[in-house]
């Protein structure tokens, strides 16, 4: 058998296995619903996305929630990126104070639960700093993921050989230029895959901000359920929407990986 034929067979086999599991799962859900006498109202779901009143588009709670979630994710991703890179550079800097600050930040963030950090920021820091719920959410998520991102940056930067530093330094480049033009461009290719999974974590962790009454996707979902008791439908839908976001993130990352060629020594 040729390799090509074999590959096609593999694909068919995988698809059948996947279909079988999907059927089994669907059957379990339907059966479970029947057991507890759940009546499905999938037809009611679309209006929680949006409605068209007299030809005017009115977004529903799920769309509003999605928008807030996307905003939070976008902003905290940027914050996490900045914090992560800064902390990584501080940890590797020659300044003892810089290394010290970075260590303290990392230890605190990585050894306490995110939920506690969110509460701490919301109940303790937010009143002092006079920032709103949304800003608190972005700050908490950005700081949390930034700590993990910094370890990813550091590992990526350390993976670039000493020779590259020495070549750059002996060409008279400053440390700043060496990072900017020589080290980071090479490290980014190795950093991208783990950074993507960290971004996916951020998307999932963002649901926790609903605990401080930020009207994100999760919070809107809970509110709709409280009003309508469409528990299963809404949670399925909300989960699907998170899945949608993370899949798009991964797709962007693999596109980037494809177009940023791997050229390392």
């Amino acid at each position: 058998m040729t390799r090509k034929k074999k590959n096609v067979l593999h694909v068919y086999r995988d698809i059948s296995v996947f279909a079988a599991f999907s059927c089994l799962f669907g059957w379990l859900v339907v059966r479970g619903g029947r057991e507890i006498a759940y009546t499905w109202h999938w037809n009611q779901i679309p209006r929680y996305f949006f409605q068209v009143d007299d030809g005017v588009y009115v977004s529903g709670p799920l769309m509003n929630g999605l928008q807030v979630t996307l905003q939070i994710i976008g902003l905290s991703l940027v914050l996490a990126g900045i914090l992560g890179l800064t902390t990584a550079l501080l940890r590797m800097s020659t300044s003892p104070v810089g290394r010290w600050i970075a260590r303290i930040y990392l230890e605190i963030i990585r050894n306490t639960p995110l939920l506690v950090q969110i509460f701490f920021l919301y109940f303790v820091m937010a009143p002092i700093l006079d920032v709103g719920r949304f800003a608190t959410a972005v700050l908490a998520l950005g700081m949390f993921e930034g700590a993990y991102a910094s370890e990813i940056f550091r590992a990526g930067i350390c993976s670039i050989g000493r020779g590259q530093w020495e070549a750059a330094y002996s060409s008279g480049l400053s440390t700043f230029d060496t990072y900017r033009k020589v080290i980071l461009p090479q490290a980014i290719r190795r950093i991208l895959p783990p950074l993507t999974s960290q971004a996916v974590s951020l998307v999932k962790d963002s649901a926790l901000v609903s605990t401080i009454a930020v009207y994100d996707l999760t919070m809107e979902g809970r509110t709709v359920i409280a009003e309508t008791f469409l528990t299963f439908e809404i949670w399925f839908t909300v989960a699907g929407m998170y899945l949608f976001i993370t899949l798009i993130l991964s797709a962007i990352a693999s596109l980037l990986e494809k177009y940023v060629p791997q050229r390392t020594a």
């Binding site: 020779g163 020495e166 070549a167 002996s170 060409s171 230029d177 461009p185």
Partner: protein, 255 residues
């Protein structure tokens, strides 16, 4: 004061002055032990010695890639001390070529040679490219300007690395076993480039195991062992009548 005499004096004034430097990595073992030397402008100093004797470390001290524990280094009148400014200034005057090339793999050959010109000399891309093209032609890889380093042979990579080091118009070039990582058939092409530089009057400090080449290009030879300078002499005298028994033993072994 006689003007001629002072003019003469500035001509023979050494451009590299190393005064009793010492260095150790771990606390007790001295990798460099009280090393002193001088290099006159336009001269080629070749450093030889068994592996592990501290040749690379010495070379790396000259452009501040390693810090010294004791002694002083003066490059073109600039002291290599704790001042970051001096260190940067010296690195701009000193080009270095490594055993394993260390080209920037994410840049084309041309970009490799352009980089420092743009960042350090603040040249425009067009200005930088002009000089880079000349240098690449000089080392014979001008047809590879648009290619990435991993598509080049070792010999070509090393010649690009030499062009990159020359791009800042350095006053001094350091070569650390520039041909040791090369396949035998490529050693010649790299040595040719270094020889041309010597003939152009470039001041150079060259660590090499190629004794024939060392004898041919150098003005002086320095023999090092266990971090100490055993003997330093003008080339002909060094090879024909070495003063030290240890030098003679080393030369017997490798010639």
């Amino acid at each position: 004061m006689n003007e001629n005499a002072s003019g003469l004096k500035s001509q023979v004034q050494p451009i590299v002055v190393v005064d009793s430097i010492s260095k150790s990595f771990t606390h007790n073992v001295k990798v460099l032990d009280n090393v002193s030397t001088r290099v006159t402008k336009g001269d080629v100093l070749v450093i030889i010695g068994p592996s592990g004797s501290g040749k690379s470390t010495f070379l790396r001290c000259l452009n501040g890639l390693e810090d010294i524990d004791q002694g002083t280094i003066l490059i073109d009148g600039i002291p290599l001390d704790d001042h970051e400014k001096n260190r940067l200034k010296i690195r701009r005057e000193v080009g270095m070529v490594f055993q394993s090339f260390h080209l920037f793999p994410h840049m084309t050959v041309l970009e490799n040679v352009n980089l420092a010109q743009k960042l350090v000399r603040k040249k425009s891309k067009i200005e930088a490219t002009q000089l880079s093209k000349d240098l690449l032609q000089k080392v014979g890889v001008d047809d590879k300007a648009a290619v990435y380093p991993n598509e080049l042979s070792g010999g070509q990579q090393q010649r690009v690395a030499i062009a990159r080091a020359l791009a800042l118009m350095p006053k001094i070039m350091l070569f650390d076993e520039a041909t040791s990582a090369l396949d035998p058939e490529m050693i010649g092409e790299v040595l040719d480039v270094i020889r041309d530089l010597a003939n152009d009057g470039m001041t150079m400090v060259v660590v090499t195991h190629e004794m024939g080449f060392a004898r041919e290009v150098s003005d002086r030879v320095l023999f090092m062992e266990h971090g100490c300078v055993i003997e330093e002499a003008p080339t002909e005298r060094f090879f024909q009548q070495p003063a030290q028994e240890r030098t003679r033993a080393f030369l017997r072994k490798i010639l």
